[in-house]
Structure formats: C-alpha cells, structure tokens
C-alpha cells in the first residue's frame, strides 16, 4: 500500500514558489524533484522520528532572497555577534544575501559569493531532502578557498543574520576548500531576530591532504526561528578536522553532519553543546563514514535542557570493509534541569571491518546532589552552585576548541545563558 501524504501548507508554498531558471536551472530542477519525492521529512522516516518537520514547519514560509528589514535592525543583529573582537575578517549574509557593506574580506583567502561562483564549485550534495531543498532554492553563501600551504590569519567569521522581518525561508550555501597543507579557523555564527522564519544552511567542506580546519559554529537564531543545517565534510589523507557547535537559539533545530574519510590517517573531532530552555528543540544527526583505513573519529555532545526543551543526538559510524585500524568513539551526555525536559540518544555502529576500535556511550541525568551539597557547604548559594555545575558540564565540550580567545567567547555565552536562567 502506498500512502500519499497531502502536501502541507509549507510544502505547497515551496512548490508554488519553485521556478527553475538561471545558470543552474537543471541542478535546481533535479534537486527540487528530489525534495518533492519525500516532501518535508516526517516522523515515519526513521532518521526523523524525533523531529517531524511536517509538524514543526506548520505554516507556509515561502522562499525569499531579499531582506525587508531596515538598516538599523540589521546593524543591531550584526553587532550582536559574540565574535566581534575575535574574528580577523567577517563575511556577512543578511536574509540569504551577501552584504558587502557590512563585510570585511580578509586577505590571503580566495573568496567569491555563491552567486558569482560557477556551478562547478557545487558538489552534488547528499541525498538528504533538506539539502536538496537547499540546492533548489539556494540564494547565496561563501565560496572560500584556502590556498595550498597557506596559513591565513584567522579566525574568519561567516555571519548569517536572519532578521525575521518576514515569515519566509532562506537557503544559504557555503563551499569551503582547504588545499593541501592549508590551515584555517572558521567561525560560523547564526543570529536571528524576532519573528517566524526558516533558515536552511548547507556547508560543504573539503579538507585537503595534510590540511587542517577548525570550525566553530554558534547558533543563536531567534526563538521563533527554525534552523536546518547540513554540513558535508570530505577529509583527504592526513587531514585534521575539528568541529564544535553551540546551540542556544531557535525554536527548532535539526543539524546534520556527514563526514567522509576519503584518505588514510585523517582525524575528525566533532563536539557540541546545547543550552536549551522553554520549548526549544534540537536534534543533531552525525554520520561518520570511515571509508578508508587508519582514521580516527571522536564525537562528544554535552546537552543541557531546561524547561520543556527537547534534545536529540543521533550518531552513526560506518566502518567499511577496508577501513581497518579505525578508531572511533562517540558519546552524548544530557543534563536535564526540569522534569519536563527530555533527551533522546541513538548511537549506531555499522562495522564491516574486523580490526577496529569503536565505542559509544550516552548518559542522561540531573545535577548531582552531592556536588551541590559540597559547593553549598562552602558557602556558595544554591543558584550560583547550580550555575557552576551546569557551566562545568557544558564546558567539557568546549575543551576541544583550540583557540583560547574562542573558548573564552563560548564560556561567556554559557555564563550569559546561566545568568538569564537565574533571572528567569
């Protein structure tokens, strides 16, 4: 029996708005057809059972590619980046469009906007319906190339501001290439205004041989905003990839990472923290594909949920038949600060090689009463003691971030969240 789902208002709006045109007409058309096959992912699809986009995106949010916000509102959101003093260069995108006036392009890196770059810069992308939706409607993004052997004075920040001035959806797409031996630190910041919107972000990353990328993503979308992201990473031999994501914003977030080891002896460290409250929802899905031997992967997520927030972590590691000597480990830990908060974890290992070390672990609990008593017994008031313990819990995931300055910013963001929690 085939069940045909009725189009939701959001799906109908996408179909109505879709017009294949421009130099990438065929790419967009194929992508939209691919999206239309499944429509918005829903709970009857195994990978989406905790994040039903048909329900979450309940209203029509037609694609838009021009901002309707006034300059003052945009300035305020741009100024809200926590990395103002840390980033050495900044590329600003406002409601899906590159904003040259508010950007400061760093020297030493080859930069083009997606609109300028040719279609050959776009990898085919995954078969994920949300990535396909992005490809069909993508409006702008950064295409960055770090030249072979270069060590550009970074961090460089990609700042995505979604104003919420209009109930619409925006699709941004970045392509990041590190040529052989290049090294860079990249910050991806998402800041949103009030109002309902959908931001669908795709970042494609190619880390060349012996190259190294440190990527830090901070997500502070507006509290009515929906954040969908796909990060696709290809790692060449002996390359090194470190990725950290802090999720504090958004009404609903689904972030997916697809990491493929293309060359031997590469390393991938993916870590993240959630600081969620109210009815916020965040679902992270990672798929690590050990396609070749002797690679190492680590995933660590520390998820703090207060109020009626809901956190999900789904980590899958695939170890192909030839991928001997793979060393893979993932863990997710949740701290539930209220009876209504919820966390689900789904670790998956698919191992076809026989000489590998792989493991996973997941825990979920509330604050340790003994820790709390010890701090209070030294005169620390309860709320301060709780904040210290929550901060310490989340900070374990920050430890993987190399830059002291960036770690300082992350700590400050967590402290701010804890202060607001105390005040609430």
């Amino acid at each position: 029996m085939t069940v045909t789902l009725m189009k939701t208002p959001a799906e109908a709006a996408f179909a109505d708005a879709f017009k294949a045109g421009g130099p990438l007409a065929q790419v967009r058309k194929t992508a939209f057809e691919q999206f239309a096959e499944t429509g918005l992912p829903h709970r009857r699809m195994e990978d989406w059972k905790w994040t039903d986009l048909r329900q979450i995106i309940s209203k029509a949010l037609p694609p838009a590619a021009r901002t309707k916000a006034d300059a003052k509102a945009i300035d305020a959101l741009v100024a809200a980046t926590p990395f103002a003093d840390v980033a050495k260069g900044r590329l600003v995108f406002v409601d899906g469009q590159y904003d040259a006036g508010r950007s400061a392009v760093p020297a030493g890196v080859e930069f083009a906007t997606l609109a300028e770059a040719g279609s050959d810069r776009l990898a085919a992308g995954s078969t994920d319906p949300i990535a396909a939706l992005n490809l069909a409607f993508m409006s702008d993004g950064a295409v960055l190339t770090f030249k072979a052997g270069s060590n550009v004075d970074t961090p460089l920040e990609l700042l995505f501001v979604t104003t919420g001035a209009e109930a619409a959806s925006y699709a941004s797409r970045n392509v990041i290439v590190l040529e052989q031996g290049a090294s860079a630190t990249l910050i991806e910041t998402h800041i949103g205004g009030e109002g309902e919107y959908l931001h669908n972000a795709v970042t494609q990353i190619h880390v060349g041989e012996n190259a190294r990328l440190d990527r830090i993503k901070v997500q502070e979308e507006g509290l009515e905003g929906i954040h969908l992201s796909n990060t696709e990473v290809h790692l060449a031999a002996s390359s090194h990839f470190k990725d950290f994501t802090l999720t504090m914003g958004g009404r609903a977030t689904r972030q997916q990472g697809f990491i493929t080891f293309d060359g031997e002896a590469a390393e991938s460290h993916v870590s993240g923290a959630y600081l969620l409250t109210g009815k916020q929802h965040c679902d992270t899905r990672l798929v690590i594909d050990h396609a070749v031997p002797q690679c190492l992967s680590r995933e660590l997520f520390k998820c703090v949920m207060d109020g009626a927030a809901r956190g999900v972590f789904q980590g899958k590691a695939i170890v192909r038949r030839d991928a001997q000597k793979t060393d893979g480990n993932q863990s997710s830990h949740a701290l539930l600060l209220s009876d209504e908060a919820e966390f689900d974890a789904k670790p998956e290992l698919e191992i076809y090689a026989d000489d590998v070390v792989c493991g996973h672990g997941a825990t979920s609990g509330d604050l340790d009463e003994n820790h709390l008593f010890y701090l209070k017994a030294r005169g620390i008031p309860e709320q301060t003691a709780k904040s210290m313990l929550i901060g310490a819990f989340a900070a374990e995931a920050f430890d993987d971030v190399e830059s002291d300055a960036i770690r300082g910013v992350l700590t400050g963001l967590a402290e701010g969240w804890l202060e607001r929690r105390k005040g609430a």
């Binding site: 008593f373 010890y374 209070k376 017994a377 301060t384």
Partner: protein
Amino acid sequence: MLEIKNLHVKLEEEDKEIIKGLDLTINAGEVHAIMGPNGSGKSTLSYVLAGRPGYEVTDGSVTYKGEDLLEMEVDERAAAGVFLAFQYPIEIPGVATMQFLKVALNSQRKARGEPDLSTPDFMRLVREKADKLNVTQDMLKRPVNVGFSGGEKKRAEILQMAVLEPSLCVLDETDSGLDIDALRVVAEGVNALRSPDRAMLVITHYQRLLDYIVPDKVHVMSAGKIVKSGGKELALELEKEGYAAYAA
C-alpha cells in the same frame, strides 16, 4: 559557640533513628573529640550540623552563636562560619579548584556584608596557605578534588578551611586514609587554626589523630548518644580497652 540539646535524627527515607538524644556544648577556643565505633552516628552528626539533605531532625535543638542552626540553609551555615571537613571529599569535574575557592570565599564575604577579595589578594592568600599544607600549584590547577589521592583530598579540605577561616570546624574522620607523614601535615594545618575565637569538633575512630590534635575534651559516642565524656586521657583509655564496653 555550639549547643546541642536532646538531638534526635532519623533518615528521611527510612524509619530508622540514628541519633537518639545527643547533648553537647562546645565553647569558643575549645577542641572536642568525638570517638566511637562504626555506626554510632558520628558522621550523621557532622552532616546534620552542615545541613546535608536526607536527614530529619525529629526532636531537640542545635544553637550556634545563639541562633537556631537547623533553620539555616546549608550555604548560610557556611557563611556564618560552620565548616565541615568531609570524610570523603567530593570530586567535581569541570569546576577549577581556584575558581571554586574564590567563589566560596567571596560568597561568604558577601553574605557577611564584606567586599570581594581582589584576585591578586586572593591568589596571595591561597598560595601562602597552600605552601604550608604541601598543596602544589598543580593541584590548584585541577578541578576540585579530581584525580587527588586520599591524602591530597584531605590536605585540600584543610586548605579550604584555612582560606575560609570558619568559627566552628567539624572534622569528620580527617585521619582516615592518611599515612603518618600526611597525618602530621594535616594536623599541623589544623593546629595552626586553633584560636580563642574558634571551636573544633574532631570526629575520629582512632586515638592516633589525637596525638597530634590534642583535644580539651573527649566524648564517646555509641548508639546515637554520648555515653561518656572526659579529658584527653579518655582517648588513651579507649585505645587500650576498645569500644566493647560501650557497645549498643
């Protein structure tokens, strides 16, 4: 300083009385030792004084500096000068020892209406006290008690006590798990804090500790009560004869 009258305590979750009518008065400047067999209620007494959750006082009173101690929150007791040196100090991953000490000290100062200690003054204070207790800079850089040996944990407790300068020090089996050299260092740290304004309650199973921290009074606790009190010679007597005579 501390006046305990007819104290009865039971576990919150079980109908089991642990302290059954305990009376004890400690004046400023005095060091009292409580000795007793395992299960006599010694550690429970220390937890009730510090305010640990899970215990219910069913009768009696505890007055500290003229105030009802049992009515005070855990952190209020600490700010008022009550310090419990834990038998098993808790490891707290992710909380740096120095940050913990600083927040603790400044929280107590704030509660007493005193200004925060500046970071340089705080660093100087800790370094000076740490040196005397063989607490290394490396230990101070680690998270609270994480990866500390048994002896290091006990020295760290005494360091906290030295930095926070409480009025009433309750030492719960501070000698357990210490070799003789570590015991001497810890005892010296405790003795350095003896003062006419400060009272101490030293809880121990063995007389050994009392060779180093010489008490003014010794009490024998058994089955939730103080069954005998005397001078420091009582400890030696117990060492010779054991607790059999006081068994419940």
